[in-house]
Amino acid sequence: MNCDEAQAGLSLAMDGEPPADLAEPLAIHVSACTQCTRFNNTLRAIRQGLRLEALGEVPDVAPKVLSAIRETTRPRRRRRAPLAAAFVAGALVGATFIGVGGGRSTRVANADIPDRVVAAQQAVSSVTADLRLIERGWHQGIQERLFTGKLRYQAPESLQVELLDRTRYPSAAWARSDMALVVTGDRWWIRAARPCPVEGVPECSQGKPVVRLVTRREPFADDTPVPLDLVTPVRSFALASAPVAVGSKHIGGRSAIGILTTVAQIQPLLAGVDPAGNLRDLYSSDRAELWLDEKALVPLALCVTATAGAERDEWAASHGYHDAPGTVVLELTLNRVALNRSLPPGSFPYPAADATPEDDNFIDGLPGSSTGPAPRWLPAGFRRYRDGMVATEGGPRVVVRTWTDGRAWVKVRATRDWPGGRLFGDLGEIVRQVTLGRGVGYASEDGTRIGIHGLGIDVLVTGSLAAGDLQRVAGSLGLAGLPVPSGWAEAPTATLAEAVAATPGLLLPHNLRGFGPPAVRVDGKVVSLAFAGPGTRAFLLVEAAGIRLDPPVDSDVQGVRVRGFDGRYTVGRGELEWVERSRIVSLRSSTLSLGELLAIAQSLERP
């Protein structure tokens, strides 16, 4: 044990989470090491200094808060530019797939692949395959990790993913990262090694695995997802522009087509093989070569290669990785793939009762008086799946109805108990108003969720369909959607035309491909436009009147030239900012690189 390892262990132990079996070697090391003893003493002094701080008089904000609430439902202060929900904490990106400007011939030949992938999901009723996954660069002491396992899927949402860790570790101290996920409609079960930071390995990887069992699960629940992109990568292609083809070949006896993309775009697929977070992190702009079955568009192979660049180097350093450019950091292969065969009974075995069940509170079946709205239009082939009701303590009573065809699905959630304040259905901070039949609705940035606020009813429509089809489904519910009340969080939502009219000189991306129409919000003089693309690719454009940038609050700021102006880029936040003609402009993304943001910046024009 060296000092870094010992101090990492001391830090964990300080918080009551000492790595298993580390106590003895840690005690031996610390007893003989003055540096680590000093470190340990300092930890205690820090805790004492912070926990015993003199608080003084805590200001009582209650009267002001209640007064503000009574006066208006909005805060009295100027609203700040909101952040798009897409900007979750995560990797930064850097590559060349922005799709601004002229086309490339290689894209033309495969221009219809995104539409074909979305359409193909309806033709998939079952998939079985053996999985083989190789991971490199996870830890300096391990050249590569090997996992083998299986994928079993039966439409619409029975699925089993199993990966067994076959790595030859240096000693028994290294815990294996086995993972198993089994979903059988109303039950969701996962067992996986407990994730721990690379610097804490191998000590912190010991201990009992994480086991979760959810019963009475709502169909297509957000919180207990089924990784359907392992079956057909719909979310990676729903908003994609024509992909770059890398050729064709045979994989396991099947004709395959290869597509060049990025980690960010195929993130939903990658999440399917790592639902518990035990594999290494991947850089969002790293090159991903994805091979799909030529006819069924089911994934057959995936190869992720480390890209070069200062941004990526910085990301790798912050994660403790030492990837050389060109290194293949992850390889996934599906062997012995069989499609649309009937699966034998027992293909999705119930796991052992090794976890306390968590009740998702979904009750199958609807009483006659609580049918909830149903669409008059669905794509051909769709049929009813599960209907039921969710009634959590203190929450609204929600009627849930679902329809499926193969791997494709549509869900309508409706409630008459929504207290308001914001749209029902967790659509995110910035939404896009859409016309639905006789009224209006609101779409999430990526178009996969549509909320409707009606007279005495609030509805959410979700599904795996293309955005246009989902909108058509929502429009066929027969509801007259109303604009949200003025006090709701989404009230500043605007159309692009309204934003342009309200903001002279507004800059907009020109010839932008691979992103859907923006969700727009106008908060006083601040205009926010959220653009979503395939997978987790997204960016936020914020423009406001102003003549200078705020002083930087982060240490990782670098100066850049943007459109001929001096600007800055904050690596950790993925934010490019500059001032142009008395306007402060900000482009922010957690999945696009500086190069891509600069390309978008360069494309900005007045409409």
């Binding site: 989470e17 200094g49 904000v61 808060v65 700040r80 721990c196 304040g421 705020d550 240490s555």
Partner: protein, 176 residues
């Protein structure tokens, strides 16, 4: 950390201002303390505490009981704090406050530790505060910060390493 009675929480979610006031009084010391460390400015922390509870009231209907209410409040406070840091008007005040803060002598351990913590980067500071000051578990802190649990462990460890180095060097004025 204390959690509210379900009946009080449900009443507040339904718009009962008396119930909401009980929630404000229950959590305002914690929120203010967190924001005071996070923002390094007492007056600003009071403003943002006020704003945090207005946000909490507006978003209460969307609280889904899938996490502890206290963690959810911390998350709202943290987001409000980040917005505040980025606000130009407030940042000007903050920028003026920083040199004074950095030059404060640290005659006692407690003041020295607090000055050192205030010198950490935002990411390291917020992770350390949640674990060290408020006693959240790594999992709870990860929920508040919306990062993996491993990232919290790593940030807390880094923060502690930097504080140790800071102390051994007798304190430095610039950000750690």
């Amino acid at each position: 950390m204390e959690e509210p009675e379900p009946a009080v929480l449900r009443a507040a979610m339904a718009g009962d201002l008396d119930a909401f006031e009980r929630l404000v009084r229950m959590y305002q010391p914690l929120v203010w303390r967190f924001l005071r460390h996070f923002l390094r400015d007492e007056a600003l922390a009071e403003d943002v505490t006020q704003e945090t509870f207005i946000h909490v009231f507006q978003r209460l209907p969307s609280f889904s009981f899938r996490c502890k209410f206290s963690n959810w409040v911390f998350r709202v406070a943290r987001n409000a704090g980040i917005d505040a840091i980025r606000s130009r008007e407030r940042h000007d005040r903050l920028a003026r406050a920083l040199p004074a803060l950095a030059s404060v002598p640290a005659p006692e351990t407690r003041a020295e530790v607090q000055a050192a913590v205030e010198s950490l980067t935002t990411k390291l500071r917020e992770a350390l505060l949640l674990i060290e000051v408020f006693g959240l578990s790594y999992r709870e802190a990860a929920e508040v910060l919306r990062v993996p649990e491993g990232t919290v462990k790593s940030r807390v460890f880094q923060a502690r390493q930097r504080l140790t180095a800071w102390r051994s060097e007798g304190g430095r004025a610039h950000e750690l």
